[in-house]
């Protein structure tokens, strides 16, 4: 789901940082608290988007614990999700590894007994208080790995991967001010269309980008807690409600009004971002991992706000924390691994995430500027308003496929909002019935 198109930028950043850190480490004096301990190597298997983050964190960690060194293996997202369960169940698993929220990765790792429960470490380091109880539910599974969102905490990450609204400042200024309610946002779309602009830039060739847009409309009509409940498959929850129907009808209206680019199902996600940078589109509802790309491409003309999902001005929408860090059951020194993970999610490190283009979920008072500051503020506002609605495709193992093909059919006019919802409900019922 979270595909980082700016991994190259991150890579270059990472190389620069690594150089800086290596030279810093060479000149600095090393602590000698653990000088007695023998050398330890922590094996880390990670998704490639975190390359720069890891370089930053490992350098800090080895400064604190000079006897520890790291062996890091990186894989691109698709590749990672294919091979990670196999590597974790092999004879030579890493100590620390990324998982992915939901049944198909995290559920599997818990079922296979491949990762350690983190509840004790969470208590020790105060993670639950720091992030808020509900925020970490996405990393919870019952011990048998079958009930998502409940039970034991198995992983954690401090990076916010939130969907929000990027906008073209010049174009919006010509239409009006920042919207403080969803109705105002809706009115701005109509004004943009009337002015001959593309109201919402979107490329849905992959099927999932439209899901982020739909998630915003859904959040405008339904309380966030209710949406989280159906994603987690809580008892009594359901997909289709009257408010959900209103959301689908609104999305259909946006389609019929021509608020999306022509041929939206044939435009690749990366191309839509490029189109937005080139000045096509007033708004782009997309994940905050696009920030570096937009900052580079549009400079001061790019803005960002969290979607106002209610008349009260409350913000929210599709959002989650990044891929969980897990400690494997075969980790040689789980306490040391937990210490490293705590560094990754610590408040001090949160302040440095901006330097690798990442948005910290933990409130951070670092002096960041420009677009990233707006994005970080947006994430903080969503957390404060408890507006996180998670990623709908986590709901069932097949939901990603269902949603990607159904959003395309909905945008292509093959089905209407009602049909879209009943197809989603059918998938959900099959898994939760």
């Amino acid at each position: 789901m979270r595909i980082l198109s700016h991994s190259r930028t991150l890579g270059i950043l990472g190389v620069i940082l690594a150089f800086m850190l290596v030279s810093a480490a060479c000149s600095g004096d090393s602590g000698d608290d653990d000088a007695m301990a023998g050398p330890v190597v922590l094996d880390v298997l990670a998704e490639a988007g975190d390359e720069a983050t890891l370089e930053l964190a490992t350098a800090q960690f080895t400064e604190m614990y000079p006897h520890v060194s790291f062996n890091i293996t990186l894989r691109a997202f698709d590749d990672y999700m294919q091979i990670a369960p196999g590597i974790l169940s092999s004879d030579d698993p890493p100590d620390i590894a990324h998982g992915n929220q939901g049944y198909t990765i995290d559920g599997l790792l818990v079922q296979g007994g491949l990762i350690l429960p983190l509840d004790d470490y969470a208590a020790q380091y105060g993670w639950v208080e720091a992030f808020g109880d509900g925020t970490l539910d996405q990393y919870r599974f019952t011990e048998d790995g079958t009930d998502f969102g409940n039970g034991i905490l198995w992983g954690i990450n401090g990076v916010a991967e939130f969907v929000g609204v990027y906008y073209n400042k010049e174009k919006l200024a010509a239409l009006g001010g920042l919207p403080s309610t969803f109705e105002e946002f809706d009115a701005l779309l109509a004004a943009a269309k009337a002015a001959g602009e593309v109201p919402i830039q979107l490329g849905n060739a992959e099927g999932w980008p439209a899901l982020h847009v739909y998630g915003m409309v859904e959040a405008a009509y339904r309380p966030a807690a209710e949406i989280r409940d159906w994603v987690f498959g809580e008892p009594g929850a359901t997909v289709v409600t009257d408010t959900e129907r209103q959301a689908a009808a609104k999305f259909e209206e946006w389609r019929d009004n021509g608020y999306f680019p022509e041929g939206v199902n044939g435009i690749a996600y990366d191309d839509s971002v490029a189109n937005f940078i080139a000045g096509e589109g007033v708004f782009m509802i997309a994940g905050n991992w696009n920030t570096a790309t937009l900052d580079e491409g549009m400079g001061a003309n790019a803005g960002y706000f969290a979607m106002p999902v209610g008349p009260s001005g409350i913000v929210g929408g599709t959002a989650a924390l990044a891929l969980p860090w897990h400690i494997t059951t075969s980790a040689e020194d789980p306490d040391l691994a937990a210490e490293f993970i705590n560094l990754l999610v610590s408040e001090e490190f949160a302040d440095e995430l901006a330097s690798v283009g990442r948005v910290a979920a933990r409130s951070s008072d670092t002096e960041i500027e420009g677009l990233l500051a707006e994005v970080t503020a947006g994430a903080a506002a969503v957390i404060a308003d408890e507006g996180v609605t998670l990623y709908a495709d986590w709901a069932t193992p097949t939901m990603f496929d269902t949603l990607t093909s159904k959003t395309q059919e909905l945008l292509g006019g093959q089905i209407d909002g009602e049909q879209f919802l009943s197809d989603v409900q059918a998938d959900w019922d099959a898994a939760n019935g």
């Binding site: 196999g86 169940s89 680019p261 044939g266 395309q408």
Partner: protein
């Protein structure tokens, strides 16, 4: 095939004639039977084949009767996976799509290549070798490279739409791969582009082996170009057509690379193919047994189609 008008029954093309028994250099023991030791020579190749082809096949067949996520214990579910496959309308649609792709991968390139080869028999084309080399290039390119290039060609602001707009056909231009009507044909045309070179080179080589006397006698008998094609060229190319069919039909049915890179089965489920389901079942849904079941069905489908082609060819040989 009507051949009486030619006054001469065409000779079987050389590649189709079977070597005479006496010419076969098989070492035989005193009893006239092959020595058992001869089988030893087969052993290296066979063990390689057994380890890398037969064993995975048997393993996949076994897995298709289990429910397995790749980590926890395998659970025997009998034919459940097969029932799931055959009752899922999406899988049936994918199988049907793969049949449509056969038209683009096999039928279309073979027809076009035959037409051009037929023309070549009459018309001298300068720089024939150069043309052949260029036409063969798509066949040797990695399919992912081909897919990325064509995705660009079909993009809403790609060269295809640019060209259409330029000649005033802007009402035709569209987001080809996102269009519910045109996505599958657009994908199919890439398949045609890829397989055409191979088919054409096969046929062009085959035509060169036809003795020119046959064309001469056909012309003396007053055969026109069409007649000459059906009486001389087509029968002589039967072997090549069989090979071309087997290769292209196989490519059409097991198509994965193009779909994965260009559409991922979209828009909706319009370009779904069986191999996409195998990928999804195994790597996204993590139902390895289901993926194995689709794999087994796809293999049987391939086997059936190829046997049908071979059977048809053999029947043609006997009646010729």
């Amino acid at each position: 095939m009507e051949q009486s008008g030619l006054g001469q029954r065409p000779l079987r093309p050389p590649q189709l004639s079977r070597p005479s028994r006496s010419a076969r250099p098989v070492r035989r023991g005193p009893s006239g039977r092959a020595q058992p030791v001869a089988y030893l020579y087969l052993l290296p190749a066979f063990s390689f084949f057994a380890v890398f082809a037969v064993a995975p096949l048997v393993h996949a067949f076994k897995l298709s009767f289990y429910e397995w996520n790749g980590i926890t214990d395998q659970v025997w579910v009998g034919l459940d996976n097969y029932v799931t496959v055959f009752t899922d309308p999406k899988v049936r649609a994918a199988l049907w799509n793969s049949v449509i792709l056969i038209i683009f991968y096999a039928v279309l390139p073979i027809c076009v290549a035959l037409a051009i080869v037929g023309l070549m028999a009459r018309v001298r084309i300068r720089g024939r070798t150069a043309f052949r080399a260029v036409l063969f290039v798509p066949t040797i390119l990695p399919l992912t490279v081909v897919a990325v290039a064509w995705r660009w060609v079909y993009a809403p602001d790609g060269p295809l739409n640019f060209g259409l707009d330029l000649i005033g056909l802007d009402f035709v231009s569209r987001a080809w791969l996102g269009d519910f009507t045109f996505a599958l044909p657009s994908l199919g045309m890439v398949g045609t582009w890829v397989t055409f070179g191979l088919v054409f080179v096969l046929f062009a080589a085959g035509v060169q082996k036809i003795p020119s006397e046959r064309y001469e006698s056909a012309r003396i008998d007053g055969a026109n170009m069409v007649r000459e094609f059906f009486a001389v060229t087509l029968p002589a190319l039967r072997g090549e057509i069989t090979v071309a069919l087997i290769l292209t039909v196989t490519a059409a049915l097991r198509n994965f690379d193009l779909v994965f890179v260009m559409t991922r089965g979209g828009p909706g489920t319009n370009t779904e193919v069986p191999s996409m389901f195998i990928y999804r079942s195994v790597f996204q849904i993590r139902s390895i047994g289901l993926g194995a079941a689709i794999g087994v069905i796809l293999m049987l489908e391939l086997l059936a189609v190829n046997l049908a082609v071979l059977w048809y060819r053999r029947r043609g040989d006997l009646s010729a």
